[in-house]
């Protein structure tokens, strides 16, 4: 056993979304710290993975013990402004179904929140919603 590889967890989460959104109809997806210039009147998705609380699960020191690692995924969905919410919710459903109570490579995804409408889209010029969900994985030392 070893300490958790954060990039492995991130790759599991991001890879799942990238694979789904590469399917038809394909939608551009960007991740943390990536440059992206959006095209007006287009649809695109931003996925932000954040690691949060780490908690003791079992007794023990640096070997033979386990921790819980919890994080949150925030996925922003951008669709053309002034065209109603339908296209946005269609993408939202694809994303929601992708993670809802799913377990992949030891990462447990909780039921998602949203898509919730974001009152002040960033960047402006789009209709924006957000899907959020917590996830948990276990670190065995």
């Amino acid at each position: 056993m070893a300490a958790i590889n954060l990039n492995t967890v991130r790759s599991t989460i991001e890879g799942r979304l990238a694979t789904e959104l590469a399917l038809s109809p394909a939608i551009p997806v960007i991740f943390h710290n990536q440059p992206y210039v959006s095209t007006p009147n287009s649809s695109w998705v931003q996925c932000l993975v954040n690691f949060g609380a780490n908690e003791y699960l079992t007794l023990g020191g640096t070997t033979g013990s386990s921790n819980s690692v919890i994080g949150i995924i925030a996925i922003n969905i951008f669709t053309p402004k002034g065209a109603g919410p339908g296209a946005n919710l269609t993408i939202g459903k694809r994303i929601r179904d992708l993670y809802n109570r799913v377990t992949v490579s030891g990462v447990y995804f909780d039921p998602p929140i949203g898509p919730e409408v974001v009152a002040s889209p960033a960047p402006e010029g789009f209709f924006q919603t957000q899907v959020r969900m917590t996830f948990e994985t276990f670190e065995d030392l």
Partner: protein
């Protein structure tokens, strides 16, 4: 002055009562050692008198379910379902390191299995001691 945190503790167990092995994924343990008191107050005494009587212990071990098999962790969580238990199972409860421990033979008297949505699965086993309790704490 040294202090110790809970995660420095551990539990070892052997259902056969010989060589104890670590119980994996232990989340906590507790042991209460009690001594009965015998009233030796004589007629005419002003103050009550007591002497120590029989000593016994009881406690719990809380562990996470790991689906292990053919090891002492598995034996530990199934021991409550053993017929004709002679009370010879060896318990070693460690406070710190591999030497600061409380050792005794005992009987597992209950095991509570549970599954709750959104939480890791926890099993809580209760035990009572059988015979001598050796303290090296």
């Amino acid at each position: 002055m040294a202090f110790y945190r809970g995660q420095e503790g551990s539990v070892k167990f052997d259902d056969a009562g010989s060589t104890a092995a670590a119980i994996t994924s232990t989340r906590s343990w507790s042991l209460t050692v009690e001594k009965e008191s015998l009233d030796t107050t004589a007629m005419g005494d002003t103050y009550r008198a007591n002497v120590g009587g029989l000593i016994s212990g009881s406690g719990t071990v809380e562990l996470l379910y790991t689906a292990s098999s053919a090891d002492e962790t598995n034996a530990f969580i199934e021991m409550v379902n053993t017929a004709n238990d002679a009370g010879a199972a060896l318990f070693e409860l460690y406070l710190y390191s591999t030497t600061k421990k409380i050792t005794f033979d005992g009987v597992i008297t209950s095991a509570e299995y549970s599954a709750t949505v959104g939480e890791v699965q926890v099993i809580t086993c209760s035990f009572v001691t059988n015979g001598t309790i050796t303290m090296d704490v």
